[in-house]
Amino acid sequence: MDKRLFINTKPGNTFLDKLTGKTKVRTFLILIFLLIATWDFRLILPLFFLGLFALLSLHPDPKKMWGVTIFIILMNLFNLLLLWLVSPDYGRNLCGESTVLFRLSEFYIVTAETLWYFLVRFTKFVATFLISMTFIQSITPSEMSAGLHSIKIPYKICTIVSIAFRYIPDITRDFNNIKISMQARGMELDPKKTKLGERLKQNVLILAPLVITSFDRVGNISNAMDLRGFGKKKDRTYYSEHEDTKGDKIMLPVYLAFLALFLVIVFMNIFHPSAYEVWCPWIG
């Protein structure tokens, strides 16, 4: 019965939803690259708020969001804790100084620079998460495939993306059917009654018929695509890729500006690298 995935199959009504796949994919990729390239809190913080604002503008279902959000935040905090345990004075390498706030022991110290670095790192990762979520929640697989094609990725590869999303629910259904028939034949999949090892072995047994039925399906799909001329021409148009809206016209200079900023940062990193990677307000 679980037909829907985490993704959307129909575009929604908000500003971001209504953009073309082209704008969505381009803006997303540029923002992600920008986030990867920079450790500057003066840039990361605005991007964090941008991501937060964008995600909220989609009015996502909070029930769907909470689980992932908490998971991401906890994983990041855990990651930072481990980092601190391994090298408490990590900030020195990145900021160039070490201001000890208090000492727990000879080795375990808490420094302002390390805390600053952790703040930057945390904000950066959460911003990446927010922007990715916005992207995933606002795009449909068809738009994704059209958008990827707009940045000159061969359409055969783009189509794999949308085809995968199209058939995942079918394969899930097959899997459930096979599982049901195996259970009726006596396979015990109840975690309380069967050991993990045994259960894994039994799930492998289910995979055999799943693979065979999926192969049958692949043959049919590829015939259906061939018969309707898939691969006929070098290029392809997209039904789901509507004409540019007003939103797309607004977004064009926006993402171009971000692109320029990204190029400047890369250029600076290569030709005028600052002595230390992470900008720190009291060190400058």
Partner: protein, 570 residues
């Protein structure tokens, strides 16, 4: 005047992996504007013939071609798949797999996208195609929310662009319930008339296709053209049964009544023929055969009692207050359109889901007490697609698997396996790998593996889906034998009315989660209200009986009795 669009000249084809030609010396001309049915049992080469026309042969299925095949004047071997797809639109059998888009609109647009048609032009064309196939208003729908019939309409819409001259339907009825099948045949006919196409239908369900006029029937058998004639002549002859194709029921009934068809008889269209020509024969024969109207309740102990059961998936009530009983040795058909609640009922009986309200009892014990696994030893469930059930490499292992999972003692496993192998006539093949088996044999293995647990009731989901009459008869006779000789109670989940008529005594009809009828088959199938509500189709027997002025219920009853007697003797 008649311009040929498809021309085979001494055409033979052999698949790369095979030693023998699948098509042998085909000579065939199909003219522009014809509507042709290509008929033949599975493995006869009829689908291969279709693939030669749409270009999948030789481009996707390589092999050796001799002779010539011209489609729209193009020699197929020298063209390519894409050129041919501008002339031939193909609708395939698997309506689910051929739905490539993530919405109806996108799927209809797929070939336009590949043709680089700008989106502004595409929109109009998609709308037009959707309108032609009655799917306007559905453009945004997702494939998961559509019925098989709707998906097929979309598939047809998707190949209507570019003014293709030829429309090719490869077993279009295989996955559809009777009413949807009728709609599909109707739609094909309408498009044929309105758009002036050449239409080729590959099918083995002759009676369903003949619901609308076809010009010509080409009968393929063993890779050759066995007959190329008009429908009336085909029905008049006796070749169908020899070829393993089911004769329309009304024709069988007329033949049983000893009617001899002269050349003036128009047989293909039941609405048209002048019934007076054979009314006398029919009535006389019916009086001779007239059954006494049965009303006795089947004896035998009660196995299953479904008592006021209700079940919902979330907000959706899939079963509403269902009650029925099953006695030992019964053969019951569970019928209704897709989504009516048949499969949910089967899952409920197997314990995969449990009733929200009401009880299911097996031999007086409430099934809630049994785990799925324990129930599996009482009520077996055979899935529709055997490939979804087979997990082992060897037949013997497959049959032993369920017993091993249930931790039967070693000697019981050996003994049961041997017995089941003998019951199912698989004993000589017990050491064969499953990969070499045909679809029908696989089906038999899955039934055997279920029987190994010694269930008293077996639920068989669509036992005959996608199989021609010969294989159908084989499987059904086999199940009948299990019922007769071993007293196994069988519930058939099906939308095949023929199956219900020929092999079951009682029918339980579902519609929108409700139990619509539970009675003798002949009574259910002659009840027009039930037929209409359950999305079934009136059998031609009902029409025939009405025309001859005989009570349909009794007529079907007499027909069933006679056919069963014939089967028992022959």
């Amino acid at each position: 005047m008649a311009a040929p669009v498809i021309e085979f000249q001494d055409f033979s084809f052999r698949y790369k992996s095979q030693n023998e030609d699948t098509l042998k010396h085909i000579n065939l001309v199909i003219n522009k504007g014809e509507k042709v049915l290509i008929l033949g049992p599975s493995g006869s080469g009829k689908s291969t013939l279709a693939n030669c026309i749409n270009g999948l042969i030789p481009f996707s299925y390589p092999g050796e071609i001799t002779g010539s095949c011209k489609v729209a004047g193009i020699e197929t071997q020298e063209a390519n798949l894409f050129t041919l797809s501008n002339h031939v639109g193909t609708v395939q059998q698997d309506s689910d797999a051929q739905f490539i888009g993530l919405s109806v609109g996108e799927d209809i647009a797929f070939s336009l996208e590949n043709d680089c048609v700008p989106r502004s032009e595409m929109l109009g064309k998609v709308e037009e195609a959707a309108h032609t196939v009655d799917m306007d208003g559905f453009l945004e729908e997702l494939p998961y929310d559509l019925s098989g019939g709707q998906k097929q309409k979309v598939a047809l819409g998707g190949v209507l662009h570019n003014d293709v001259e030829i429309l090719l339907f490869d077993e279009p009825l295989a996955a559809l319930d009777p009413a949807m099948g009728m709609t599909a045949v109707d739609l094909i006919d309408r498009i044929y008339r309105e758009k002036n196409k050449t239409v080729l239908i590959i099918e083995h369900r002759l009676e369903d296709v003949l619901y609308r006029h076809v010009d010509r029937i080409i009968l393929i058998n063993d890779g050759q053209i066995a007959l190329d004639t008009n429908p009336d002549d085909l029905l008049r002859s006796n070749v169908l049964k020899d070829m393993g194709i089911r004769e329309p029921l009304y024709i069988s009934a007329l033949k049983n009544a000893g009617c001899v068809f002269g050349p003036e008889y128009r047989l293909a269209d039941l609405d048209e023929p002048d019934i007076s020509l054979y009314r006398e024969n029919l009535v006389r024969h019916f009086e001779e055969q007239k059954p006494s109207l049965k009303n006795e309740v089947p004896s035998g102990e009660e196995l299953l009692n479904v008592d006021h059961v209700t079940f919902s998936y979330g907000d959706f009530t899939a079963l509403k207050n269902i009650s029925f009983r099953v006695k030992k040795g019964e053969r019951i058909s569970v019928i209704g359109k897709n989504g009516a609640g048949k499969s949910t009922m089967a899952k409920l009986l197997c314990g995969i889901i449990r009733p929200d309200e009401g009880t299911v009892t097996f031999r007086g014990v409430n099934c809630v007490q049994y785990s799925i696994r324990e129930l599996g030893q009482k009520i077996g469930y055979v899935m529709q697609n055997p490939n979804q059930m087979l997990v082992k490499d060897m037949i013997r292992d497959e049959i032993q698997l369920a017993m091993k999972l249930n931790k039967f003692p070693e000697e019981t496993i050996e003994k049961n396996a041997e017995e089941v192998l003998k019951m199912t006539d698989l004993y000589p093949m017990r050491n064969w790998p499953i990969s070499v088996l045909s679809y029908g044999q696989r089906k038999r293995v899955t039934i055997a593996s279920i029987l190994s647990l010694r269930p008293e009731i077996v639920i068989v989901d669509e036992p005959t889906a996608g199989q021609d009459y010969k294989h159908y008869t084989e499987i059904m006779n086999f199940l009948e034998k299990l019922n007769r000789e071993y007293g196994i109670t069988i519930l058939f989940i099906t939308h095949d009315m023929h199956l219900a008529i020929e092999y079951t005594d009682r029918s339980i009809v579902f519609s929108d989660g409700e139990l619509l009828a539970d009675d003798y088959v002949f009574r259910v199938l002659s009840d027009k209200k039930v037929i209409e509500k359950a999305n079934l189709k009136n059998t031609s027997l009902v029409l025939l009986a009405e025309k001859a002025g005989i009570d349909p219920e009794l007529f079907i009853h007499a027909f069933i009795d006679e056919e069963r007697r014939n089967r028992a003797h022959g």
